[in-house]
């Protein structure tokens, strides 16, 4: 309520004015009649420890951002391309190697197929990207394949898609971080013994960067992505010029024609495996469709455009690097990656351009994990909103980021890196299985979507999605088979997660049903009597305060003193009756020295539950001044509170006594 001050004089004698203080103004502002908005000061922590933690948090992740600034936190297309595409674009650094690695089994001549395979994979990428573009436009709330399958196939299929995605996002962080650390360790071998530590530190930094909010994460992580893209495109342009214009290409090995059916079948299997291996380039394509709401308005349109740019960039880089690798006669080498060999051909071995490109590649591999940090928490939030994950996943932290999702992803990924000892090969068999299951569900969902919508061009859209779904299903089977038996762990983990999410939803549904009010129900005034019972350890100001509070609640107030010492109890009763007359005291002697159980038993027997009677147990509690005081005081109160939790028709009220009122303590108690 405003308060006035002494009048101030104006220029003329009659022109006096009074300034009116508004005590609420620092903390709240009235937005509308009956609606107060809390200002930043109202959010400040009051306890010293909590204040110190808030300061550390502000230092690490930045000052809190108001919800109304959410729109400003959204991503522009440029930043979104860097954040959501780092995973997909980074695959261009190793996808060619995956193809060559699979084909080399058939001899160096088989490597000639790598360009055709990369073009086929780029075609598949175009189909998948086209499908997810439609997902962005049709499902602007995000969630990607989860939303598509929820709408078109129902709950269980959507949870399979969500589980597959959650697993793959987690593995992306672990695999890409381990891979980047291995690159560093191969450049600086002395760091090899601490590669697990470096991996965990990198994940910690990514977690902190993302806790600062998605826009700031974009600011931090955009540059390396664009530097890689720039230097890689330059490398492809220079390399293509040398091959096409200058004729600088290695002599191609002769491919021997064979009519042997066995050999042809083996070659076909080899090509399918190479296709499946190279298809890892598609991982991360789905991330944009998951995170549509993170884009600036118009969200769907911007997300769809960014997705197409990303697909075009990835296809260009992938085909370009494969084209250079084939023409420069690059073969997979244990000591040097394929992309490094291509770079050394184009920029010159040991040149500045070569080292810069290698540095940007390593940085990008680190940041590939960032896509998962953008997509995983958002998917977690959507699942939490639908009741399949704990609700905390949908809460936004100080910086409007989905804090719990980011922290959980960081923790699980770091644990995987530790368990695998920072070894990429230990994690790779688990990787990319989930994402192809997800692609397949999404494509199938879009087929159903078009069948239902029948908008213009639905027939050709169905054909594309059905063909894409068939291909991704084949890749899913091949990838799972090729990576078995480790990949089967993912197949087991998916149903486990689905069951867990269904369990969470069932619990939330049960709670909602229990707490629901019928719409026609009108709540009248209470018709219950109250009975107050106060456990008293002795006579103190805290007890007096609790008794006074209890008397303000009901006429039926009694104190219960549980003791093992009958003589001391008699003395206590004399003091009680003299100092607090009118409040009956019950002494419960406890020969076995317990306090909590005899008190609860007293409630059960002497104050049993009655239909129209509510029992209020008032606990006097001493408020500690320091954190270490908590170890010294209120232990019995805490145990009593725990013991009474869930007791029918019983309310537990705590009456805190502030030690700060020491001046008051010097005065006599009223």
């Amino acid at each position: 309520m405003p308060t006035t001050q002494q009048p101030l004089r104006g220029r003329k004698p009659g022109d006096r004015r009074v300034r009116i203080e508004r005590p609420h103004a620092d903390y709240f502002r009235w937005e509308a009649p009956g609606v107060l908005v809390a200002k930043q000061k109202a959010h400040l922590e009051r306890r010293p420890l909590a204040r110190a933690w808030a300061r550390i948090k502000a230092l690490l992740i930045g000052r809190p951002i108001a919800t109304e600034a959410e729109l400003e936190e959204r991503l522009s297309k440029k930043k979104a391309l860097a954040i959501f595409s780092s995973d997909a674009i980074s695959s261009s650094a190793y996808a060619t190697e995956e193809i060559l690695g699979a084909l080399i089994i058939g001899g160096t001549a088989a490597l000639l197929f790598s360009l055709e395979i990369s073009i086929a994979i780029a075609a598949l990428l175009a189909i998948v990207a086209f499908s997810y573009r439609q997902v962005c436009l049709a499902y602007p709330t995000g969630g990607g394949s989860y939303s598509v399958s929820k709408r078109n196939f129902g709950r269980n299929a959507s949870l399979v898609a969500a589980s597959a995605l959650l697993i793959d996002y987690t593995l992306t962080v672990a695999v890409s971080t381990s891979s980047a650390v291995e690159q560093i360790a191969s450049a600086v071998p002395s760091l090899a013994p601490v590669k697990v530590g470096i991996g965990v530190l990198a994940i910690l930094l990514l977690t902190l960067g993302n806790l600062r909010g998605i826009r700031e994460a974009g600011n931090i992580f955009a540059l390396p992505t664009y530097l890689f893209v720039g230097t890689a495109l330059l490398m492809i342009a220079l390399g293509a010029y040398r091959i096409v214009v200058l004729g600088d290409a290695a002599a191609a090995p002769a491919l021997q024609a064979t009519a042997d059916v066995t050999s042809q079948a083996a070659m076909a299997i080899l090509l399918v495996r190479a296709f499946a291996s190279g298809a890892v380039a598609l991982t991360g394509t789905e991330a944009i469709a998951t995170g549509v709401p993170a884009f600036k308005p118009p969200e769907s349109r911007n997300a769809a455009t960014t997705l197409m740019v990303m697909a075009a960039l990835l296809a260009t880089l992938f085909i370009g690097i494969t084209f250079l690798a084939v023409n420069f006669g690059v073969v997979p080498d244990e000591h040097e990656t394929v992309v490094a060999q291509v770079a050394s051909h184009v920029y010159g071995e040991g040149s500045i351009g070569f080292y810069l490109f290698q540095t940007f590649t390593a940085l990008l591999l680190f940041l590939a994990a960032n896509t998962s940090f953008a997509a995983f928490p958002r998917l977690g939030a959507i699942l939490a909103q639908d009741g399949f994950m704990p609700r905390q996943f949908a809460f936004r932290g100080d910086r409007l980021a989905f804090t719990l999702g980011i922290v959980i992803l960081g923790l699980v990924a770091a644990s995987l890196v530790v368990v695998a000892g920072g070894d990429t090969h230990a994690l790779i068999p688990l990787y990319a299985v989930g994402v192809f299951i997800d692609f397949t569900i999404s494509q199938a969902g879009m087929v159903r979507h078009w069948l239902h919508e029948r908008s213009s061009g639905w027939r050709y859209r169905i054909a594309i999605n059905a063909f894409g779904g068939l291909l991704t299903a084949i890749v899913a089977v091949v990838v799972t088979t090729a990576k078995a038996p480790a990949s089967l762990a993912v197949l087991l983990l998916i149903p486990f997660l689905v069951v867990m999410m269904l369990f969470i939803r069932r619990e939330y549904d049960k709670q909602t049903a229990e707490l629901a009010l019928r719409p026609e129900q009108v709540i009248g005034p209470p018709r219950r009597r109250e009975r107050v019972i106060i456990p008293v350890p002795g006579l103190s100001r805290a007890v007096v305060q609790a008794v006074n509070f209890g008397r303000s609640l009901a006429d039926d107030v009694r104190a219960v003193h549980v003791t093992e010492d009958a003589d001391a109890a008699a003395a206590f009763r004399r003091d009680w009756e003299r100092q607090i007359p009118g409040v009956p005291l019950v002494i419960v002697e406890s020969p076995f020295r317990a306090v909590v159980q005899p008190f609860v038993a007293y409630l059960d027997v002497m104050a049993p539950a009655e239909p129209d009677l509510i029992t209020i147990v008032v606990l006097p509690e001493y408020v500690p001044r320091h954190w270490w005081d908590r170890l010294l005081y209120n232990q019995t109160s805490n145990r009593l509170r725990q013991a009474l939790l869930g007791r029918p028709d019983t309310v537990v009220a705590t009456v805190p006594y502030q030690r700060e009122n020491e001046a008051l303590a010097a005065q006599p108690t009223r």
Binding site: G10, R11, D15, I20, P33, V37
Partner: protein, 171 residues
């Protein structure tokens, strides 16, 4: 051409009435203040008649008066302009605005003026705006409500109008 580098003011007092021009005044002042990081002081004066002592808390009115300033702060927050707010009680609104802005060393006063006519059709300015125009030592900006908006509103505002919130400013 106006000089873009010289700020129109360094510190301005915004006279707010709780009327239809408040938001226009705050937006206008924020637009001017933002590029130069000028200070804004939102001010609302509750006119106390001679039946009451000036120091008497006209509390029921002051809660509404506080809300006027709070809403202005909300607009300024969206513009990311720093704004203080001050609530006054006075016998005469114009005098209080001029005296307080002088005390605060403000170099401008921004006032709102709803578009309205007296019975007979003459444009009405009330009493506060002319007083401030005559007596303010610094610059004075008047933001007049667009006629179309006044017509859409349907004439006389329910709350007091202009910077003059007192009876004298009512028609």
């Amino acid at each position: 051409m106006p000089d873009q580098t010289t700020p129109p003011f360094k510190r301005a007092v915004l006279g707010l009435s709780g009327g239809p021009t408040d938001e226009l005044v705050v937006r206008f002042a924020c637009e001017l203040a933002r590029p130069h990081r000028a200070e804004l002081i939102a001010m609302h004066v509750v006119e106390v008649d001679w039946r009451h002592d000036l120091a008497e808390d006209v509390s029921s009115g002051n809660v509404e008066a506080s809300a006027i300033l709070d809403r202005a702060e909300g607009v300024a927050e969206r513009y990311r302009v720093s704004m203080q707010a001050e609530l006054l009680q006075a016998r005469d609104v114009g005098a209080a605005l001029v005296d307080e802005s002088t005390a605060l060393q403000a170099d401008a006063i921004v006032l709102g003026l709803p578009y309205r006519k007296k019975f007979g059709g003459d444009f009405a300015m009330g009493r506060t705006v002319p007083y401030v125009l005559q007596n303010a030592p610094g610059g004075v900006f008047i933001v007049r409500e667009p006629i179309a908006r006044s017509e859409a509103r349907g004439g006389e505002p329910e709350t007091a109008v202009g910077a003059g919130m007192g009876e004298a400013d009512r028609l």
